[in-house]
Amino acid sequence: MRVVIEKISKTFEDGSGGQTEALRDINLSNEENEFLVVVGPSGCGKSTLLNIVAGLLPATSGRVIFEGIPDTSRPHTAVVFQEFALFPWRTVERNVLYGPEERGLPRKERREIAQYYIDLVGLTGFEKKYPHQLSGGMKQRVSIARALANDPWLLLMDEPFSALDAQTRTIMQDELSQIYEKTHKSVLYITHNIQEAVFLGDRVAVLSRRPGRVREVIPIDLPRPRQEQIAMDPQFLAYADQIWGHIRDQAKEALAEEGL
């Protein structure tokens, strides 16, 4: 299985005839079991790219192809949103059950799947809680379990931890890394956080801003499983510095523009 993003461009039109070019000629591929991170300054269209891959937004040109998928019963993608996007009227368990329900799996199998992923993300004992009773970190765990329970070919994560506080974020990065070791799903991960990109990614694609284009794809040659301490590793810092070198001018530009 391989996901190929082929010459994707996206131009938004606003109501008054103005046009914003968000993405231009994006070529990327996500290999089987690969953790691919897309990093870029704000306004580089990285979330737009994810939405296009998820089929939640049409591309202006180009296409996304899932190569070599043997059976069609599994969904192509499942998304973990920055805003968690949990159904507030469903308990933790029933949120995780949503995908298997929609796929029409038998009741017993659904329950087993849901329980497996609830346990995997460390929410055992919280099955009957409603989302509003959970902290941000726990909500995002539910969202991850819900996406995984649908067994997608490619897991899409759209800045999943940027709504969390710094400490929770560090913990969640660590746990996601462990979950990845266990599931070895193909992941397309969007973030603006360079540390996070290096920590999680097998490869990091750096996007420029407006229009978003791929500046460089950097393979991260750090051993797995990775733990928090790796962030002190000189090699880790070198990668982070390399990425920051691509982004810093543009991030400043973005800042100046927002200030206008």
Binding site: G55, L56, A78, A85, W89, Y98, G99, E102, N150
Partner: protein, 269 residues
């Protein structure tokens, strides 16, 4: 931390927001209501006001007791409740369905919204003569006018609820494989539930208003009928008892809807 206990002098910082703490004064509410009735009773007993214009609370209670014994009051309450029940429940169901259609399908919205916008402002009681012409003077015209009154707040609230459904939840459902029909059932409908209940609460008040109005125009039973005939016969105590029944019905209805809401929306904080 032995310093803690030392005697100190100086300006101590006070909580300046103490007045913002709202407390419940249950006893006070009760005492005030009782006092109000007490003063009312006293004014009538002392002959300051003629009981013909303002009967004493005790007289109203006694009249109510007599009407309950003879079963007369239950005939009126039953007639009104029956009309409210059919008008309200039909309008609640149809209003919810129409609201969802308008909110979800742009074609329905383009057709329906102008019609609703132009018929909504009509005072429903003004349509009653027309409804009587169409449906006869019996129960159907009364049920229809109540239904019309409840229908509009239902449609408008449900429509708003559907339109305000969080788009990211719909995206999440799509990405988890839901079809459009499933999304309406599993995302839109629960998202709109709080607004559906807001519509029901508005609707029940309107239903009570319209049933009384309709019964005053043409009926041979019902609270509205009872109030009007009591006034014609200068039976002020009976009239006042009818009004108290309406107050109680209103309270009971909103209590019931509150209970139902808590039952249907257990995720509400």
């Amino acid at each position: 931390m032995s310093e803690d206990c030392q005697a100190r002098s100086g300006a101590v910082v006070q909580d300046k927001t103490a007045f913002m703490v709202r407390r419940e004064h249950r006893l006070l509410s009760l005492i005030f209501i009782l006092a109000l009735f007490g003063v009312w009773e006293l004014i009538v007993r002392l002959g300051l006001v003629s009981p013909l214009f303002l009967p004493a609370p005790s007289a109203i209670l006694i009249t109510g007791y007599k009407m309950a014994l003879s079963g007369e009051i239950f005939r009126h309450i039953g007639a009104s409740l029956w009309r409210i029940f059919w008008g309200f429940s039909c309008a609640a169901v149809i209003g919810t369905l129409v609201g969802i259609l308008l909110g979800f399908f742009s074609v329905a919205e383009s057709i329906g919204n102008p019609i609703i916008a132009s018929t909504y402002p009509i005072p429903k009681i003004a349509i009653l003569p027309l409804l009587i012409l169409w449906l006869g003077i019996g129960e159907y015209s009364k049920i229809a006018v109540i239904g019309l009154g409840v229908f509009f707040p239902m449609v408008i609230n449900v429509y708003t609820g559907v339109r305000n459904a969080d788009p990211v939840l719909i995206k999440a459902a799509v990405s988890l494989g839901s079809s459009r029909r499933r999304i309406i059932l599993k995302v839109i409908l629960p998202s709109a539930l709080p607004m559906i209940f807001a519509g029901l609460k508005l609707g029940i008040g309107i239903a009570l208003l319209l049933v009384v109005a309709a019964e005053m125009i043409a009926a041979d039973a019902g609270i509205g009928f009872m109030i009007l005939t009591s006034a014609d016969l200068m039976q002020t105590t009976k009239l006042m008892f009818g009004i108290s029944i309406l107050s109680m019905l209103g309270l009971i209805f909103s209590w019931l809807i509150d209970r139902l809401e808590r039952l249907c929306i257990p995720w509400k904080e």
